[in-house]
């Protein structure tokens, strides 16, 4: 049978030529992402901000948001948000953290339930209620940040073991850049940032390093085999030879994520959207256009001829 060949054999695309373009672009995008984070901010969920989340479904017809809004507004709960969540019958109610410690959160939930029951009597289904007090939310946030740093550090040490330090550093720079851009994306799209988002970020980190390691492995092999080939050519050859594998794997992961995105439902939507962005778009780009050329700048293969384009 005729097999599907997405990437023809023996491609000789000159990826390294683009490094003079890709580095500045990446730098700009990173700065943009950081700016977005500080100016636009992330849409922190209750896991990190504390507060209450109630998901309801009205059984008899679509939910009356304006009536709910005015009724809840009278309860003096401070900032709260009502949002349709999927179908017109599903409403997500977010209530900000109440002053007064843990008991105040519970009191707020009771008040909201009472108010909603007054509007809808029994025709309302409480799909989900989540209350995160100030203590736990503070901890989850710090654990999340510590987790990310711990992961970055451990992976860096592991790579240092397996490769030389320039490779470890190159991989870290490329992948932290991935995280920065992904966080920028989350800020732009105001995707819910909660504990599952940390899961997504860690998975993106792990998975795009996966990619980088495959390319670095090939680079290392070629460095040993072709002692006189100039770095840009060597890097190009490495990437070209692993290109077909990279593309195919990215297609399979994309297919898996697509299934999750389209059919996995609202509950994990923020997770899958983030993963999609991180793994597919950013991961592929950085492995090829950042992680490889950065090795030149870090001094790998010094002493070789400079090749066609002098750095």
């Amino acid at each position: 049978m005729r097999l599907l060949r997405i990437v023809p054999d023996d491609t000789k695309f000159d990826f390294m030529r683009f490094r003079r373009v890709s580095f500045p672009i990446s730098a700009v995008l990173s700065i943009l992402a950081i700016a977005l984070y500080f100016l636009h901010g992330l849409n922190f969920g209750i896991d990190f901000k504390g507060g209450t989340l109630i998901e309801i479904r009205t059984k008899a017809g679509p939910a009356d948001l304006s009536r709910m809004r005015s009724s809840l507004g009278e309860l003096g709960l401070g900032e709260f948000q009502l949002q349709q969540f999927g179908s017109p019958q599903d409403v997500l109610i977010r209530i900000s953290q109440q002053p007064g410690g843990e008991e105040a959160q519970q009191a707020a939930v009771a008040k909201v339930r009472q108010a909603l029951n007054q509007i809808y009597s029994n025709d309302i289904e409480y799909r989900r209620v989540e209350v995160v007090g100030p203590r736990v939310s503070g901890e989850l946030l710090s654990y999340g940040i510590i987790g990310l740093m711990l992961a970055i550090a451990s992976i860096f040490i592991y790579l240092w073991f397996r490769f030389e330090w320039q490779f470890a550093l190159g991989a870290m720079i490329a992948n932290v850049h991935d995280l920065v851009l992904t966080i920028g994306f989350m800020s732009l799209a105001q995707i819910d940032f909660d504990l599952t988002s940390i899961a997504a970020l860690l998975t993106i980190l792990g998975y795009s390093l996966n990619d980088t390691v495959v390319i670095y492995d090939r680079i290392r092999e070629m460095l040993r085999r072709y002692k006189r080939m100039p770095m840009p050519d060597l890097l190009n050859a490495s990437i070209n030879s692993t290109l077909s594998r990279s593309v195919i794997t990215h297609v399979t992961v994309t297919l898996a994520l697509l299934a999750l995105l389209l059919f996995g439902g609202q509950a994990i939507h923020s997770f899958t959207a983030t993963m999609m962005f991180g793994v597919v778009l950013v991961g592929t780009y950085t492995s090829i256009f950042i992680a490889a050329p950065i090795l030149i700048y870090l001094g790998v293969g010094l002493g070789r001829e400079l090749g066609r384009d002098e750095t």
Binding site: L3, L4, I6, D9, R57, E102, E103, Q106, V109, E125, Y126, R127, R128, V129, E130, V131, G133, R135, V136, L140, G147, L150, A151, S154, I155, Y158, L195, T196, I198, A199, L202, T203, G206, Y207, L209, N210, D211, V213, V214, D217, S241, T242, S244, R245, I248, T249, T252, L255, A256, L257, L258, A259, L260, L262, F263, G264, G265, A267, I268, M275
Partner: protein, 532 residues
């Protein structure tokens, strides 16, 4: 690389087979599985986000525990000094310690000796840790300060948590729910998970009350109004009623403690038919009760719950039988709940709910459906794509991945692990990543073929070169999963678990199963060319 001895083949297939076998109990209804032998019963536990249920994280009020320990210390010091006939002019709790000022400076040594007896060595599992429970310092001028040491306080908090867990278990069991999970978390927290519980309001009410019941005498020397204006006698305090919040003047001394109750049952008053709670004391409680009622016929006594007065019935006659009833304008539910609380016992310290997550069964069921659908669609897409790209070898890869997923379920079953919705996402993701291992091998084989190797050598070299890369690249994802497991809770932890297990099984299947299948195909077909 392609050489598989019979032993290796058997070992590989048997390992895979047995692990997959553990996945089987999950597909049979629970009733059937219960009749199988214990070792075959391990199965996956559905997380609360798939099953529906309540998750409550409670924190023991450690400040209250510390304060109570100080008050107990105060009583101990008073008792010791009185027994030794050592006079003191001041005795009070100050900050984190108890300070006592002796009347005679010459009593100092004697006092110190006696007080030192209060300090006990703290033991670990293997004997004493060398630490003591009290720190005693002379401040000069006849003042001694006693403070519980930090290890002693932590020990007390730990005990309080253990006690609380038992009491919570009793209270939760009264709700008649499916097996709840109650375990300590960290130093001073307790996790309560009740599958199937949709509305945790009653559970929260039951857990929110300390339920400390005391019987005390009412102070008849002043009226509540007088006490509010001009102050209360030294041995009494003002407490408010539970329903109407009216003030009472109650003696501080506890006449009979609720700890001496052996039973409490809801019932109805014979005359008024209002809901009440019937109680019964143990023998020492009954004796005290008899004594108090004999000495105070005609006077009211107060039933105090958590420092609030439920009622103040008048003692009409001495109660010698050790039983009685509490009425306080209860509804049927309230009488029932109070009986539950009294039977379960008083919590050593108040509990605060610091996190609550409740998922209704509707959402849980939806999540399962969506999870299943996404898994099927994702798998089909990947299988079709692999088949289109690699033909026969794609088929081999698909078989390996299928066994991989079965093994993931097997391991999850074996560990009685919890499956959550993100966990299902983790499995779908693993399918996408697992294929990568096979892709690495196959692409390498193709390269070797293009470089001019014979088919068998190409396949051999492909496996050899690719396996090291597979190991490296999967380890990085595994590190991320490990970190996530460590910092995550609940559903997110479920994701870390499936991802981590998925990586291990992926590496296993890549190293063994795929190789095995290809090796046997080569041996069987003796191919002239590699069909990829």
């Amino acid at each position: 690389m392609l050489h598989f001895t019979r032993l290796k083949t058997a070992a590989t297939l048997l390992t895979a087979f047995f692990i997959c076998l553990f996945a089987v109990p999950n597909f049979f209804p629970e009733k059937m599985v219960e009749s199988w032998p214990k070792w075959a019963q391990r199965h996956i536990v559905l997380g609360l986000d798939l099953q529906g249920g309540s998750h409550l994280l409670l924190e023991v009020d450690s400040a209250a525990v510390r304060k109570e320990k100080l008050l107990a210390l105060l009583d101990d010091v008073r008792r010791v000094l009185r027994d030794a006939r050592i006079g003191y002019t001041g005795l009070a709790v100050r900050g984190n310690s108890v300070e006592v000022r002796l009347r005679e400076g010459s009593d100092l040594q004697a006092a110190l000796t006696k007080l030192r007896e209060l300090s006990q060595p703290l033991g670990g599992i293997l004997g004493t840790t060398g630490q003591r429970s009290l720190e005693i310092i002379e401040l000069g001028g006849g003042v001694i300060r006693l403070a519980p040491t930090e290890p002693a306080l932590l020990e007390r908090i730990r005990q309080a948590v253990e006690q609380s867990i038992q009491i919570i278990e009793r209270r939760v069991n009264e709700l008649g729910t499916v097996e709840p999970l109650i375990q300590r978390q960290g130093v001073d927290r307790i996790l309560v998970q009740v599958p199937g519980l949709q509305d945790p309001t009653r559970l929260k009410e039951l857990l929110g009350k300390t339920a400390k019941l005391d019987f005390r005498l009412v102070d008849m020397s002043v009226t509540p109004q007088q006490a509010q204006q001009s102050g209360v006698p030294a041995d009494s305090e003002i407490l408010l009623g539970t329903k109407q919040r009216e003030p009472y003047v109650i003696k501080k001394a506890v006449a009979v403690s609720g700890g001496d109750l052996t039973d409490a049952q809801p019932g109805f008053d014979q005359r008024t038919s209002e809901p009440i709670v019937n109680f019964r004391f143990n023998s020492s409680g009954a004796r005290r009760f008899a004594q108090i009622t004999q000495e105070n016929v005609g006077r009211p006594f107060a039933i105090v719950l958590d420092n609030q007065v439920i009622s103040t019935p008048v003692i009409r006659e001495p109660i010698l039988g050790g039983s009685g009833q509490i009425s306080g304008g209860f509804s049927v539910q309230e009488a029932n709940d109070l009986a539950i609380l009294l039977r379960a016992g008083a919590l050593p310290a108040p509990l605060t709910i610091i996190e609550e997550r409740t998922v209704g069964p509707g959402l849980g069921q939806d999540s399962i459906e969506k999870g299943k659908l996404a898994s099927y669609v994702g798998s089909v897409l990947v299988i079709v794509f692999m088949f289109a790209t690699y033909g026969l070898f794609g088929l081999f890869a698909n078989i390996a991945v299928a066994i991989n997923v079965a093994m993931i379920f097997g391991v999850l079953s074996l560990l009685n692990a919890t499956l959550t919705l993100p966990g299902i996402a983790g499995i779908v993701l693993t399918v996408g990543i697992a294929v990568d291992s096979n892709v690495l091998i196959y692409e390498r084989i193709r390269e070797e073929v293009r470089a001019g190797r014979t088919p068998i050598n190409a396949i051999d070299a492909g496996f050899a070169r690719a396996l090291a890369t597979i190991l490296d690249s999967n380890i990085t994802t595994f590190i991320a999963a490990a970190v996530l497991f460590y910092i995550g809770t609940g559903p997110v932890r479920g994701f870390a678990v499936t991802l981590g297990i998925g990586i291990i099984t992926t590496v296993f299947t890549a190293f063994t199963l795929t190789r095995l299948i290809v090796a046997y195909w080569v041996r069987w077909q003796r191919p002239q060319r590699v069909p990829i």
